[in-house]
């Protein structure tokens, strides 16, 4: 089918194009979508280097060089934003990482199939709760007046705490509610990895008299280690991307000191404030995108060197 005769050069290209014009016809609309909604904003990101004027538009606004980047790096927000963003991401990465693995291994050794299916289904379910509902559940449970946590605290003789108003609690609330919601979902990929382990390894181990704990240690954990390493590395590449929508919903004036991250800052400055200022938040966002891109590339190189598997 594929004609690989290189001699014909250009005419071959045209011939191929003719042959697959129907494929291109199919592909045209998705391609236009990608160009318009993914690449045009990249082009529009040039306003980070300009002083965007509403009346002039993206192209005609005057250039401003690295002014907005300088302003950001020298602002008092910069270090606070970076430490909040990295703090939340790293906390999330470290605390959240083991749970899906543990759950997957436990599920893999469940006594009965029905019990396994039930636990898997239930733990997976919170993934489908919307961010808005998730955050409002957290707010309800932690509410200083009617929240169950505070009702219990009072019953135990402890004082009521306005959890959402204490900046130091913000990261933990964010991370642990995320673990509650995401562990079941995260376990699926490890279950797939466990299912991919050659069963003859287990059979041989059983014949040799290995118990289940030994099998986990010497067969299952090495078996899922490549998956775990790849996921860990890939997550590291996403370290500047926090759960933007959830953080935005969990923010309030009292916890802003620890809850403001790069993404929410861009939104607050660019779209939520009364004064129209597009260039500065675009610069902040672009800074994040560029650093993220480099992180992903570096992290992928590492993954490739370590395990031979990567994103591309």
């Amino acid at each position: 089918m594929v004609n690989t005769n290189r001699k014909r050069g250009l005419s071959k290209g045209i011939l191929d194009l003719k042959k697959c014009w129907q494929l291109y016809a199919l592909f045209l609309l998705p391609l236009i979508y990608v160009i318009v909604f993914k690449y045009v904003p990249m082009y529009g990101a040039q306003i980070a280097f300009k002083d965007y004027k509403f009346t002039l538009g993206i192209n005609a606004s005057p250039w401003a060089g690295f002014k907005h980047f300088h302003r950001f790096f020298n602002s008092h927000e910069f270090w606070n934003l970076m430490s909040n963003t990295l703090g939340i991401s790293i906390y999330n990465l470290v605390a959240g990482f083991p749970f899906p693995i543990i759950l997957a291994i436990l599920l893999n050794y469940a006594r009965s199939d029905r019990f396994k299916k039930t636990v898997q289904m239930v733990t997976y379910a919170p993934y489908f709760i919307s961010t808005v509902v998730m955050v409002s559940m957290v707010l309800q449970f932690l509410s200083p007046r009617v929240g169950i946590i505070n009702v219990v605290r009072e019953a135990l003789g402890l004082e009521r705490i306005n959890f959402m108003g204490v900046p130091d609690y913000f990261k933990s609330i964010y991370v642990w509610s995320g673990i509650w919601q995401g562990t079941g979902y995260g376990a699926i990929v490890y279950l797939a990895a466990l299912a991919g382990i050659d069963p003859s390894l287990h059979e041989a181990a059983i014949v040799d008299g290995a118990n289940k704990v030994q099998r986990i240690r010497h067969i299952d954990i090495p078996g899922i280690l490549p998956t775990a390493v790849i996921l860990l590395i890939l997550n590291t590449g996403q370290i500047l991307n926090t759960g933007f929508e959830k953080i935005l919903l969990m923010q309030n004036p009292m916890n802003m000191r620890t809850s403001e991250v790069i993404d929410t800052f861009v939104y607050q400055v660019g779209l939520a404030s009364q004064t129209v200022n597009y260039s500065y938040p675009t610069a902040v966002g672009l800074f994040k995108s560029v650093v993220s891109l480099f992180l992903i590339i570096i992290v992928n190189k590492i993954a490739k060197r370590l395990g031979g598997s990567s994103l591309w």
Binding site: V34, M42, S136, V213
Partner: protein, 311 residues
């Protein structure tokens, strides 16, 4: 565990018995931990549902532990009498159905050519697609684009900017590559079958499961999304349910007039009704997804499995 291993070393002859004992202990611990996980996930969900059916007094004073106390449906009445919520429900449904239809169609249109080895420029287009997953122009240029397209505060803004997910395209392409054999295409082409016809009468009928996966992921995504609506929509008549939810549940913004019909004059009673309205609302908003979820669960699992195969 350590003890077991020590005793194993000592009494090598009784290995088998000791091991089965170790495994029995393991099974007990395993069952306990899994039950614990089940409890931790299930309890908050049950608590929300029970609170939504309980009387205000019981909820506020913390009498509700597991099952509803003082059966009362006022929270639900308030939900269904709240105009914004009903409209939000209908809007969300509209955005979900039209959005998902467009999503699934475009995804197939993009994924099939990318799955074909003889698609000219396949490598280039793959890169063009995948690159957008690693780099983006950012929120502000995205907003300005939608604004310049004249979509602000229109229903289009809820559908067109999210017309296709790149991740879904990659997933679907992998599926096509794995499941549609080259021989099938060759045989059809010998019979003079065009690419359009091949997609329509061979690829799509063979791809029911990936279409189901995509439909579900997209539909849930539409139903649960709120951010685009928050930045693009200004008028309440266009709001999807999640925005109404955010206003009521998180910003605590309940119009007193919406509750007035219950004749709750004193502040305490109103406060109590608000709390129950919230629990009822959480249930009502999550039910559509959670009800279909057990039936379609395996499709989601399958989706993630396909996703983990490298294309």
């Amino acid at each position: 565990m350590v003890e077991t291993r020590n005793s194993m070393a000592k009494k090598a002859t009784k290995k088998r018995i000791k091991e089965s004992f170790a495994d029995r202990v393991f099974d007990v611990i395993n069952t306990f931990l899994l039950s614990l996980a089940l409890f931790i996930v299930l309890y908050p969900l049950i608590f929300v549902v029970s609170s939504s059916f309980s009387s205000s007094k019981a909820v506020i004073s913390g009498e509700v532990w597991l099952w509803p106390v003082g059966w009362d449906l006022a929270g639900y009445e308030a939900v269904f009498n709240h105009k914004g919520i009903v409209y939000g429900f209908l809007n969300s449904f509209f955005y979900m159905v039209t959005g998902t239809l467009i999503n699934v169609t475009l995804t197939i249109m993009a994924a099939y050519p990318l799955s074909r080895k003889d698609f000219l420029g396949r490598g280039l287009w793959m890169f063009v697609f995948v690159f957008t997953m690693m780099f983006s122009g950012g929120l502000i240029p995205y907003y300005l684009l939608v604004r310049d397209l004249g979509m602000l505060n229109t229903r289009w803004a809820m559908i067109i900017p999210n017309a296709m997910g790149i991740w879904n395209v990659i997933l679907t392409r992998t599926f096509f590559q794995v499941t549609i054999p080259d021989e099938l295409l060759e045989a059809s082409q010998l019979d003079g079958c065009s690419d359009f016809r091949f997609v329509w009468s061979v690829v799509i009928p063979l791809s029911a499961s990936i279409i189901a996966v995509n439909t579900l992921f997209y539909a849930v995504g539409h139903w649960n999304s709120f951010f685009d609506a928050m930045i693009f929509l200004r008028e309440q008549r266009l709001y999807p349910l999640q925005i109404i939810l955010r206003d009521i549940l998180i910003q605590n913004d309940i119009e007193p007039s919406q509750l007035a019909m219950y004749d709750v004059r004193d502040a305490m009673a109103r406060e109590a009704l608000k709390v129950r309205l919230k629990y009822s609302l959480i249930v009502v908003a999550s039910v559509p997804v959670l009800v279909i979820y057990p039936f379609v669960q395996q499709h989601f699992v399958k989706g993630i499995m396909i996703g983990s195969i490298k294309g």
